[in-house]
């Protein structure tokens, strides 16, 4: 078995047992990145020298007997919208093509303190806006299973890099499905944490009330370990929750006995690909066979989640992205005579189409005369969605649902049809609107051999329970491993 097949915790154990040094692990992955990423394009920045230096430093800490996390010395990558001190943090946008933050995001501080070895920054949809990583200024990332196809998005670089074995794990961010959907497309596992679980300090904002940083790994056990490291209250983020710590100590007994799993029947209707439907319902049946109880019900309000999401997310984005004006940092157009020219030309040239589309949508729904008709309605819908989830969780422990209505589509297939692209978010955005957690794990392949993912959605801060069910599922299936083997026989 090659190193690239191992989980982060397995590599961490090997390092701890001195089967392999931190430098050897980093070097092996850097070699793999060099060999494969030219085509895959999952990295915006590869930190070869810095990564090796960091590996040596972690090794030194370990050799001195410092008690570090089980992830100490394990190489990893960070999505390019998470600030890394003195390292390009471009959000895959021309607008920030030269932006090197003078500080680290809270999640980066924490993961580095735990002994992570950062090998680079991963590609993404520009400012996390998109579900295919095609809107990146640095070009599309490819799906490791099929180079003709997208890896999903917006954390497509992170998911593809983990899927292709270029790093054992990565950090992503999820505003409307940006961790879960690429995990589903690339056959890897991920967690979108409860809003407020992980500090947003240093995450370049897309939609502040929806954004969360979360882990992407080979299996859910890795993801739980990463989440324990990066979570916790941070006084620099007022929305990070105080007085809560994740406790996964009961999550790995492999049992789902007595768990009540809800199936919202309206999630399985029109628009859902048959192969995806079969795989997800197959997983539900397996969970039932393992001892869980299934419970069918309707969640009609979720049908309004996509429009509510695009109103709220775009409104916040239009404000959050206003700071990129060509004055202080980032891209500045050389054209123009007046101050207004600097603003208009810098923004027109610096932002891509999708970002501009969302800024315009957001500015429109906030403008006077339309605020009540759109933004306020969006907020009301959001409250109803939250209420509807609360009611569901009175009757069940978690909900099982597809992550996306399809498997990975072809590069260029949806890019000219934004509405079709937005409808792909139908199963994921409600979770962000409600601020609740969801875990995404592989659950099969479609007829073309592309991975399918399912998500388990739970009440606020129920990650331990979701991980418990997902872990038990992964103990009883090998999709997450087969996915990987299959990919090796394929494109790579």
């Amino acid at each position: 078995m090659e190193l690239y097949d191992k989980t982060a915790l397995e590599i961490g154990r090997m390092i701890k047992n001195k089967d392999i040094s931190c430098r050897e692990a980093a070097k092996a992955y850097i070699e793999n990145i060099k060999a494969k990423d030219g085509e895959l394009n999952s990295f915006v920045t590869v930190l070869e020298e810095e990564g090796l230096k960091q590996a040596d430093e972690v090794q030194k800490r370990l050799d001195l007997g410092e008690e570090l996390s089980p992830l100490a010395g394990v190489p990893m990558a960070i999505k390019d919208n998470i600030c890394t001190k003195d390292v390009l943090t471009s959000c895959s946008s021309k607008m920030l093509y030269n932006f090197k933050p003078p500080y680290n995001a809270c999640a980066v501080e924490k993961i580095e303190a735990a002994g992570a070895v950062v090998l680079g920054k991963t590609n993404m949809d520009e400012f996390a806006m998109g579900g295919s990583t095609e809107t990146s200024y640095y070009g599309a990332t490819k799906n490791p299973y099929d180079y003709e196809r997208v890896p999903g998005g917006s954390s497509g670089g992170s998911a593809a890099a983990v899927g292709a074995g270029l790093v054992p794990y990565a950090l992503g961010s999820d505003t409307g499905g940006s961790i879960r959907q690429p995990c589903s497309f690339c056959g890897v596992s991920g967690i979108k944490p409860t809003y407020g679980g992980v500090s947003r300090y240093g995450l370049v904002a897309f939609a502040s009330s929806l954004d969360q940083i979360g882990p992407i790994g080979k299996d859910v056990r890795d993801c739980a370990e990463i989440l324990s490291v990066i979570s916790g209250h941070d006084r620099r983020d007022s929305t990070s929750v105080k007085g809560f710590e994740y406790d996964f100590s009961d999550s790995f007994d492999g049992s789902v006995k007595g768990l009540k799993i809800g199936i919202p029947t309206n999630f399985y209707g029109e628009g859902l690909n048959e192969d995806v439907k079969t795989s997800v319902l197959g997983a539900a049946k397996l969970l039932k066979d393992m001892g869980a109880e299934l419970y069918e019900f309707e969640m009609p309000v979720v049908d309004y989640a996509v429009p509510a999401y695009y109103i709220i997310a775009c409104a916040e984005a239009s404000s959050n992205l206003s700071r990129y004006d060509g004055i202080k940092y980032g891209y500045r157009s050389n054209e123009g005579e007046s101050l207004l020219d600097v603003f208009v030309n810098s923004r027109s040239e610096g932002f891509g189409m999708e970002v501009k589309r969302r800024i315009m949508l957001g500015s429109f729904v906030l403008s006077s005369g339309y605020y009540d008709a759109y933004y306020k309605k969006g907020l009301q819908t959001r409250a109803l969605i939250k209420k509807s989830f609360n009611e569901a969780f009175e009757k069940c422990d978690m909900i099982i649902s597809p992550v996306a209505p399809t498997t990975a589509f072809k590069i260029g297939e949806n890019i000219t049809d934004p509405l079709k692209m937005y409808l792909g978010d139908i199963y994921t955005v409600a979770v962000n609107l409600a601020g609740i957690p969801a875990v995404s794990v592989p659950c099969g392949f479609d007829g073309k051999g592309l991975p399918v993912g399912l998500q388990l959605i739970g009440q606020t801060f129920s990650e331990a329970k979701l991980v418990k069910a997902a872990y038990a599922y992964q103990q009883n299936t090998d999709w997450h491993k087969r996915a990987f083997e299959k990919m090796k026989g394929g494109s790579l």
Binding site: A207, R236, S319, K328, Y329
Partner: protein, 477 residues
Amino acid sequence: MSWETVIGLEVHVELATKSKIFCSCTTEFGGAPNTHVCPVCSGLPGVLPTLNENVVEFAIKTGLATNCEITRFNKFDRKNYFYPDLPKAYQVSQLYLPICRNGHVDIEVNGNKKSIGIHEIHMEEDAGKLVHDPWEDSTLVDYNRCGVPLLEIVSEPDFRSAEEVIAYLEKLRETLIYLGVSDCKMQEGSMRADVNLSVRPTGAAEFGTRTEMKNINSFKAIGRAIAYEAKRQIEQIEMGKRVIQETRRWDENKDATYAMRSKENAQDYRYFPEPDLLPIEISEEWIERAKSEMPEPAWAKRERYVSEMGLSEYDAKVLTTERSLALLFEDTTALCGEPKEVCNLIIGELMRLITESQTAADKIYVDPGKMAEIIKLTVEGKINRNAEKEVFEALFKEDIDPVSYIEEKGLMMLEDDGLVESTVEEVIKNNPKSIEDYKGGKQKAFGFLVGQTMRALKGKANPQTVNKILKEKLDSL
């Protein structure tokens, strides 16, 4: 036709918190450009605001002092617009739920009392400053002031004259300084007023179209700007033109206002709730605590100085122009029990010294204990008035110890009657002509002899003792 001027004010005050509203940078005025900044207040990507609770506390106190209702459930909103001095391209402010509402400030103009309504007070952050470099012909941005906390105090359109506006601003300034929430320095921009003004025929029920004047940075200029703008609007209407709703800039040098931008194609600020900050709930306890910490207001001090300490209304007013002076007055009086003496020393000497030394009154330090000591020595006749002034000046300038200073400089009055006696004898011996005059009934001669004696004693004798001894000696001649 006679016209009535209708005015409403939007006053911005920078709060005297140590750190900025959403980060820990200092709020200190000045400093080299872009030295009081961090990733948060300069709006770098990925940073988040954290609320400085002192800002809320100062806002509560200001609301209580201006008789406002305090909003219990507060939120911040974003006001979006592009300008280089606004690094996030939005200002965090309060639109929907301002912290204070429905208050009033009572003023008095020419003996007439009037209550000015406060529509609302809200918290927000200040922007940076653009600095134009005429040599390079470029404009640079200084973000030091970015994120300094502001209160915007919005009055009702209750003013009818410039005098009322100035009386209100003076009252507001005094109130805020006494509360310690702002230093209200117009020249440093920590107090700024925007004037909304319209005119209408006297007796009309409807308001006329208003203009907003910005950039007025002294009370004097406000008076002049109001006079100019009211006249301009009346002239427009009398010429058959209409007043355009617009923002006008006051040009101090030209003594005129000119149009900045028309409100008719006004900017849309696309306000929406700030998602990066949690709502602030203000509890009853918080309000009670703020109340208990509020110092005595200036008007209450004035009343007390007159009724309990026997000062004139004029003196009470002068002492309370600066909170530091009022506090020095109170502390020193408590230690020496001589309110009138303390008052005279502050108004007569200290205020002169402050002016001469060109320091701000709120920056001076005079030790009340030492000041009380000087006054006691004067009252007990141990030093004379000139010595009092001299010692006090030294105290102001170098914080000397009064007793050692007096001893060192030999300013203590003589208590040796023998020396006075021998000096008087000497003076009598040397001035036979004056003795003759005195004997001849010329009272002036006595004064001359006293003067001669005092001069010989370098003024350090008690004049009463000199008088007594001289009289005895002359009478016994």
